[in-house]
């Protein structure tokens, strides 16, 4: 989509003020890595550039300290490498998350992340705590200002996109971020669905089935849609809100760290790791075009520099396990839609990470077809959000989007089991009711636990919160209260309870653990234990040691049985690396131990292949 020039932006402002009633709604893609904003102009979705002419705003916020205003976007990204602790990127990973959901892996960001148990996650910079909603609001405020400058009118209403697989709490957090930025969020829509709108804009007379494969910086979604003369109906959706290009940056940065540690015999500081991550991201992007790139880190130690060559094959080897994880989601989405790959007309690629040749190869393999790369993977979602804004303003009357709820919604029943009330992939808006009564005489109330997720046990799913259902005291089984769960077009839940006897009804507040009072937050922050890096290093050492033990035992066993089935060079290599791992176990350098474990694991690949072949052979025989 094209940039907007001054002439057309003023005419858009003029036409909006002529018909003042339906004020403008903008479309926003609030991404993990980059964010964009757009508006309808004379019937077309247009993305808006900032004062420097950039449509892509890096989702990075830098706090210079003191009373200075935070920097947002490209200027913040520029200082990230040198001021990692005061610069927040990929905040979307923490939206609507609780302390207990944050893994050690997540905690390894360059800035301080706090929160444990049911507490909301907070980011600490210069001794002040910020919620992920606040950081996101900083990004939204910048987009809003840019749009206001381009459109020459105030902007106060928006459609914001979220990953399709976001749960209720994450959606609410996104809405909250909008409010904090002074935006009335007219609609939350799913990113892959938005991309489908952009794809289908010029195909409104057609009927087709498409899959949208959306691999962004931090999240993955797969959605399957039916396009039927302007009705865009999502059939199924799946995804992973913790999988994206960031993870590829991380493994490549770790590989660079291993190389650097081995070559220069030193442990890697957090600051150095931050520099390696910046370089890893750049190298990864270049390797989509080039076969091999050189990574150089000047002044690693006392004027010493480090440089190393990374090939596309090496990157693919590291990235493959990450990208392969999208396969299960795709297969599930197809199974839920009751479709086979050949029933689809197109597979559309969205998200910056889909530029990677490896991703395209894996998509080709899953869907058995050439993926459609005609959409700009960075912009399609924002264009779709803008189209949805046009639909809501009433300007676009021949398109309608029909989405689904990605996760099953249910309540806890006997034995901690999940009782599904609204199954996943149900078209929204929807509602469903359940009748409750008492199990004990003269019971006054009961507690209802609302849960989202696909697992059978409540404890494996995501708890949205609890509420008390009150009864008029009566013998057991007599009170009857109907509870109605509604999911609106934003995919957000509301609960209505109705006493059947009196006909009284009320909206039930679900106590989300995220919505705690401010003083409560302050107290929790004060008491919360920091994810201290020392502690983490120690735990990693122990974990790596255990892994080393396992792999040594397995290797010895396999060598005893299959030594003669692999070539002599491989035997020698394995023996050498076993010795090296044993030596590393005696040492104290974590990076070396990690490298030794991985290097032995790689060397045992020929042995693993022998075992796999045996299994395949017996599997085939067994099948006959």
């Amino acid at each position: 989509m094209t940039d907007i020039d001054n002439a057309s932006s003023s005419s858009a402002a003029a036409s909006a003020s002529e018909s003042a009633a339906p004020s403008l709604i903008v479309g926003i893609d609030l991404g993990t890595t980059n964010s964009l904003i757009g508006a309808m102009d004379s019937g077309f979705p247009i993305l808006l550039a900032d004062a420097e002419g950039r449509r892509l705003t890096p989702s990075v916020v830098h706090f210079p300290g003191g009373d200075e205003e935070p920097l947002v976007g490209a200027p913040a990204k520029r200082v990230r490498g040198i001021r990692p602790k005061d610069t927040i990127s990929s905040i979307k990973r923490f939206m609507g998350r609780r302390g207990s959901e944050i893994t050690d892996e997540d905690a390894i960001v360059t800035y301080n992340v706090k929160g444990s148990g049911n507490e909301p996650v907070l980011v600490e910079v210069h001794g002040k705590s910020y919620s992920p909603e606040q950081i996101s609001a900083n990004i939204l405020t910048k987009l809003k200002k840019d749009a206001e400058a381009r459109l020459e009118q105030p902007v106060s209403r928006a459609v914001i996109t979220v990953p399709a697989y976001f749960n209720d709490t994450q959606r609410n957090a996104t809405k909250k971020a909008g409010q904090l930025a002074g935006l009335h969020v007219e609609r939350i829509i799913n990113e892959p669905t938005a991309a489908a709108l952009a794809y289908g804009l010029d195909k409104l007379k057609e009927r087709s089935r498409v899959a949208v494969y959306d691999l962004g910086g931090g999240t993955f979604d797969i959605s399957i849609l039916e396009l039927n003369e302007g009705v865009f109906q999502v059939i199924s959706t799946h995804g992973n809100t913790r999988l994206g290009g960031d993870d590829i940056d991380t493994v490549l940065a770790e590989e660079l760290a291993r190389r650097l540690a081995t070559k220069m015999r030193m442990d890697i500081s957090i600051a150095l790791l931050a520099r390696l991550r910046e370089e890893a991201e750049v190298a990864k992007i270049r390797l989509s075009e080039e076969e091999s790139v050189e990574v150089s880190i000047p002044f690693v130690r006392d004027g010493e520099s480090f440089s190393t060559q990374v090939t596309r094959d090496q990157l693919d080897l590291l990235a493959r396990p990450i990208v392969e994880r999208t396969r299960a989601n795709c297969l599930r989405a197809l199974a839920d839609a009751k479709l086979k790959p050949e029933d689809l007309n197109e597979v559309i690629l969205v998200g910056g990470q889909t530029r990677m040749p490896l991703v395209r190869n894996i998509v080709r393999d899953i869907f058995k077809r050439e993926p459609n790369t005609s959409a700009n993977p960075d912009e399609a979602v924002a264009v779709g959000a803008t189209i949805q804004a046009g639909i809501l303003m009433g300007g676009i009357r021949n398109m309608v989007l029909l989405d689904v709820t990605p996760l099953s919604l249910g309540i806890e029943t006997f034995g901690g089991l999940m009782n599904i009330i609204i199954p996943r992939n149900t078209t929204i808006p929807t509602k469903a009711g359940e009748m409750f009564t008492t199990a004990v005489d003269y019971q006054k109330s009961m507690s209802i636990h609302v849960v989202q997720g696909e697992r059978e046990l409540v404890k494996d799913n995501f708890s949205l919160g609890k509420f008390e259902l009150e009864f008029e005291r009566a013998p057991k089984g007599v009170p009857r209260v109907g509870v109605q769960f509604s999911i609106d077009a934003d995919g957000i839940l509301s609960v209505l309870a109705r006493d059947i006897k009196t006909g009284k009804q009320k909206v039930v507040e679900i106590k989300s653990v995220i919505d705690v009072a401010d003083e409560e937050v302050e107290r929790m922050v004060a008491e919360s234990v920091e994810h201290a890096f020392d502690d983490l290093a120690q735990r990693q050492w122990i974990e790596t040691k255990i892994k080393a033990g396992t792999i040594l035992t397995e290797t010895r066993k396999a060598m005893a049985q299959y030594r003669h089935r692999i070539v002599d060079e491989d035997v020698a290599e394995i023996d050498l690396r076993v010795a090296r791992l044993e030596a590393a176990l005696e040492g104290e350098v974590l990076a070396e131990l990690k490298a030794a474990v991985q290097s032995l694991d790689e060397a045992t690949q020929p042995l693993a292949t022998v075992i796999l072949d045996e299994a395949l052979e017996s599997g085939l025989n067994g099948g006959n």
Binding site: E324, A328, M393, S486, R498
Partner: protein, 208 residues
């Protein structure tokens, strides 16, 4: 969201009536989908987003009812259950009776799913290429077993479709057998549950 104006729709309201259809066990699914797409184009709340709040609430309630009716009618199990409730004015009794002649299949599916879950657990705990390779044989055998069972369930469901067609023929001739309706509903219920359990594990095995 503020307090919705409309009361929860009574569960006895006919989903068939929403689409102007006669209540019966079997429906032309393609025609139903067409009707739903047309109804969506006309009634989706987004079409009314620029109107005053009161009208938006009415529009959302109207569309939610259409959507619910469609979800009920498109699924054999849900449709039969709804028809039973319309016909008898009551819910089926709350019993868990395994459909006749399916006990063996029931047990077989249960065991295979348990074996798969054990395998997933072992696999998650295995570290390194060698430990994972040792589990591969079990994985391949499990996949074959689960796929064979899924085929069996599909075959069984084809039989159910035939039963449903026969029931439908009797139904439109005026012979409303609510007991047969309930039995068939339960069979579709089991079939859906089994398919879901098997599919979930097959997909996981395929992806690893």
């Amino acid at each position: 969201m503020s307090e919705p104006a409309s009361a929860p729709a009574a569960s006895t309201a006919s989903a068939f009536a929403v689409f102007g259809l006669e209540p019966r066990p079997l429906l032309d699914q393609d025609a139903l989908k067409e009707q739903f797409a047309r109804a969506t184009a006309e009634n989706h709340p987004d079409r009314f987003a620029h109107l005053p709040e009161a009208e938006k609430v009415v529009a959302e309630a109207r569309y939610t009812a259409i959507n619910r009716a469609f979800q009920t009618l498109r699924d054999s199990k849900e449709r039969l259950l709804h028809l039973f409730e319309l016909d008898t004015g009551a819910k089926p009794r709350d019993i868990m009776r395994i459909p006749p002649g399916t006990m063996d299949l029931f047990v077989e599916i249960g065991q295979a799913c348990q074996a798969a879950d054990t395998y997933f657990k072992d696999k998650a705990e295995a570290f390194g290429a060698l430990a994972k390779a040792k589990l591969a044989k079990t994985g391949i055998e499990l996949l074959q077993k689960l796929q064979a069972l899924a085929n069996k369930v599909n075959e069984w469901e084809k039989g159910l479709d035939a039963e449903m067609a026969a029931l439908d023929a009797r139904w439109i001739a005026g012979d409303h057998q609510s007991a047969a309706l309930e039995t068939l509903y339960r069979k579709f219920s089991y079939s859906a549950r089994w398919k879901q359990q098997l599919d979930e594990r097959i997909v996981t095995l395929f992806a690893d």
